[in-house]
Amino acid sequence: MPMDAGTIENLIKESLPDAQVTIQDLAGDGDHYAALVVSNAFTGKTRVQQHQMVYQALEGRMGGELHALALQTSVPKDN
């Protein structure tokens, strides 16, 4: 079931208000996205923990409604 990029961005920002979110619709089908999420909340977390935080923000949609989201997370560079 397709999901639009704005919804994904909003869900992430609800949990991680300072996040800079860049989303790409890879296949143009609303089903395969790549997201880059940059947030101070990731400081000191492992990559697994950072991705878990984003998945948590998506409230169970990942792997279900949202089939494919290639995820990249990082802490802001100027920190």
Binding site: R47, V48, H51, Q52, Y55, G60, M62, G63, G64, A68, A70, L71, Q72
Partner: protein
């Protein structure tokens, strides 16, 4: 957490083999692009691993998501520890962290295509 009997089976699997990939399909015939990517990374590094086809085992398929607190498959385990899914494996491979990770865990790498 003992209300999930499948957790015991998963724990057994990740403890029994040093490198375990929960995946869709088999290492020879991956049935999903993300699983195929992980197989390719491990193969490039010459890492022997056990592939567990979650498509053949619905209980493991759902169980491993809860076990790792990770919503998707593939999932890579090294020495009983969850390392990540496809994006993390790929990123670690590209930055060289994955090689370091295997070295640290005493798993021998045999580069198929040395640079």
């Amino acid at each position: 957490m003992s209300e999930h009997p499948v957790f015991d089976r998963i724990k057994q699997e990740v403890d029994d083999s040093p490198v375990v990939l929960f995946m869709k399909g088999t290492p020879v015939f991956p049935q999903c692009g993300f699983s195929a990517t992980c197989v390719q990374v491990l193969s490039n590094l010459g890492i022997p691993f056990k592939g567990i086809n979650v498509l053949e085992d619905p209980e493991i398929r759902e169980g491993v998501k809860a076990y790792s607190n990770w919503p998707t498959v593939p999932q890579l385990y090294v020495k009983g520890e969850f390392v990540g899914g496809c994006d993390i494996i790929r990123e670690m491979y590209e930055t060289g962290e994955l090689v370091e990770y295997f070295n640290t865990n005493g798993i021998e790498i045999q580069l198929a295509n040395p640079q």
